[in-house]
Amino acid sequence: MDDARGEILARVRAALADRPAPAAVVRDYERSRSVPDPVGLLVERVADYKAIVHRVAEAEVPERIAERLAARGVTTMAVPADVPGPWRAPGVTWLPDEPPLALAELDGVGGVLTGCAAAIAETGTIVLDAGAAQGRRMLSLVPDYHLCVVRADQVAVSVPEALARLEPVRPLTFISGPSATSDIELDRVEGVHGPRTLEVLVSE
């Protein structure tokens, strides 16, 4: 094959022969915003997407996990191997992703429990970066139920604040509610290929 790369770059340079000098990028938009209760805003906005969301005290996280799983009747849960030990509440079979679970196993579990890397209050978004207590991306994708623990100190108010906390070269997944579609008459309905139930515990 001849040199497509060289030709395209030459075309670009020829197209820019007029040397356009666009105005400098002015970033006078609001990079951070202060709200009285970021956690409260996150809870409200996550709920707007028809996710289930609870505000819990940090010490109560393990018992609230047990309570939520019991309420849902879940018996097997996939989990990244490095979630805090107490999160693996009794009464449930925990399947740690180490060695990596087979896809078929993951497809058969009742749900998955993870932490997160950051959350965006204003948009009701949780961000996973495959770091601590999150595991690889498919863990939070294949099971039909995702229970996610967010710590209050992980909550940013605005999108710019959240992006500044993230490392772009990690595999990132931004999650805003359960999977949904607007493809039928441009109206949103929840529940397509990703987890159809998203439940969030915000601990503080």
Partner: protein
């Protein structure tokens, strides 16, 4: 190389004819009115939540203008970053070359089926058809793309290609084509049917193909914005991922995304944030595909870049807000535009990508507008669509230069003026045209003059030419 650009569909009539036919479809108009009215109201409230919306728009436009002005630098930077993280970068001058690259990659994996994330770039180049011709089945996994694919239909909207179908029509398509048809025409049941239909494909297919909403030059990070989770399935489960991306999808650095991740969801689905956004950089051992190929697509983009007025179309982030507010689009639907890019943005993007002044269908697209300006007002990257429309209309007239009746007449006049006798013979013939005139005006000239008089009257030619009068009186 050098074949016809498939961004417009072969055999589509020019816009006025296609629009005329579409206007006869009352079901289509009802479906479109319902969908666009819903989304217009929601978009307005999603945008009103952000006090700094206008500043975000200005920043979005400025970032994209910087990308375009320095595109060569950013392309090379992106290539370096993706390569450093284990990805392989390919360059494609046109649709044919891109399709061949992808088909070769799929064949190298020994796959005869691929799953696809909704992607305008691959729709633009006709990738599915090219794969099929090469013996590879491409399974669309986005709900609306699936509706179009199963219905043997064509897309009519950038974001929701099946927007012209209502729930009952979608149910009928699914009933015909799915092993487990939907329980009803409730959107929830239709989504459930799609989930069951595609689940096994997601879990078993080895190669996925995606587009990209953004790619960060500094870090090599590629971004896909979606709703259903079909994107995540395609981006994480297969062993090999092939991403086809238009050259202009670059942003320089990671913080630039803070602008676009606010502009895009609110403008497109009118949400504070879309359900899922995936970001990946090259290959991550133990997480996601083991092989990643990025195909950088020109296909008319550098030609568009060369036009000082028209190049702003390359800022487009494919939100489709301009379609949803356009009075012309709402009445004709997207298929009348004869391209995967319909609506106001399509009317300026498709003809520039085609880059053939003699393509009559493409040349008709800049006229598919009343120049009301609603598209410019909602555009999150401030593309002045009316300005580009009028600019392109000017180019159409200019390009017709050597072929229009006006131009033919001018060329003939030059020939006549060159010889006195020819000129007089022609004048006598011209005076015959008086027989066609009423009240001193000519409303219908025979071809080729008919092309001129179909839209205007011509003053009748006087009985006697000035030269004849002069010779008779002074000669």
């Amino acid at each position: 190389m050098g074949g016809r650009n498939p961004v417009t569909w072969l055999g589509t009539p020019s816009f006025p004819k296609a629009a005329h036919d579409a206007l006869g479809d009352t079901q289509l108009r009802r479906n479109l009115r319902k969908a666009t009215t819903t989304i217009r109201g929601k978009r307005a409230s999603a945008v009103a939540e952000l006090a700094d919306w206008e500043r975000l728009r200005a920043a979005g436009a400025a970032i994209k203008d910087d990308v375009l002005a320095n595109l060569d630098t950013y392309l090379v930077r992106l290539e370096e970053a993706v390569t450093a993280r284990g990805g392989v970068v390919h360059w494609a001058r046109d649709a044919e070359e891109a399709n061949r690259i992808v088909l070769d990659l799929v064949r190298a994996e020994g796959a005869d089926e691929v799953v696809k994330v909704k992607s305008m770039a691959t729709a633009e180049i006709g990738l599915n058809e090219a794969l099929e011709a090469g013996g590879v089945r491409a399974v669309e996994t986005d709900l609306a793309e699936l509706i179009v694919q199963l219905g043997d239909d064509r897309p009519s909207h950038i974001l929701v290609p099946a927007i012209h179908r209502n729930r009952a029509e979608i149910r009928d398509v699914f009933r015909r084509r799915m092993a487990e048809p939907p329980a009803s025409d409730e959107p929830g049941d239709l989504a459930e049917a799609a989930r069951r239909h595609l689940r096994r494909k997601f879990l078993a297919t080895k190669v996925a193909i995606s587009g990209a909403n953004f790619a960060v030059a500094d870090t090599g990070s590629v971004v896909v914005v979606e709703s259903e989770g079909n994107g995540r399935m395609c981006l994480t489960l297969p062993e090999t991922l092939i991403t086809v991306m238009g050259l202009e999808k670059i942003v320089p650095s990671w913080p630039d995304l803070e602008v676009f991740l606010q502009l895009l969801p609110r403008s497109s689905t009118a949400e504070r944030m879309n359900p899922y956004t995936s970001v990946w950089s090259g290959v991550t051992p133990g997480d996601g595909p083991r092989r990643f190929h990025l195909v950088l697509l020109d296909n008319g983009r550098t030609a568009t870049l060369a036009d000082r007025v028209g190049r702003q179309a390359l800022r487009c982030i494919r939100c489709s807000a301009c379609l949803n507010v356009c009075p012309v689009y709402e009445r004709t639907g997207g298929q009348a535009y004869g391209s995967v890019y319909p609506g106001p943005i399509g009317a300026i993007l498709a003809p520039q990508l085609v880059d053939d002044p003699h393509d009559e269908q493409a040349a008709s697209l800049p006229y598919a507008s009343s120049l009301c300006g609603a598209c410019y007002e909602v555009c999150p990257v401030r593309i002045n669509i009316p300005e580009v429309l009028t600019h392109l209309r000017g180019k159409v007239v200019e390009a017709k230069g050597k072929r229009t009746p006006e131009a033919v007449a001018m060329a003939a006049a030059a020939w006549m003026f060159a010889d006195a006798r020819r000129y007089e013979v022609a004048q006598k013939a011209g005076s015959l045209s008086r027989f066609l005139a009423r009240d001193g005006r000519i409303s219908h000239l025979p071809w080729p003059g008919s092309k001129w008089t179909s839209s205007r009257d011509v003053p009748a030619v006087p009985k006697e030419s000035f030269r004849a009068w002069w010779r008779r009186n002074r000669g």
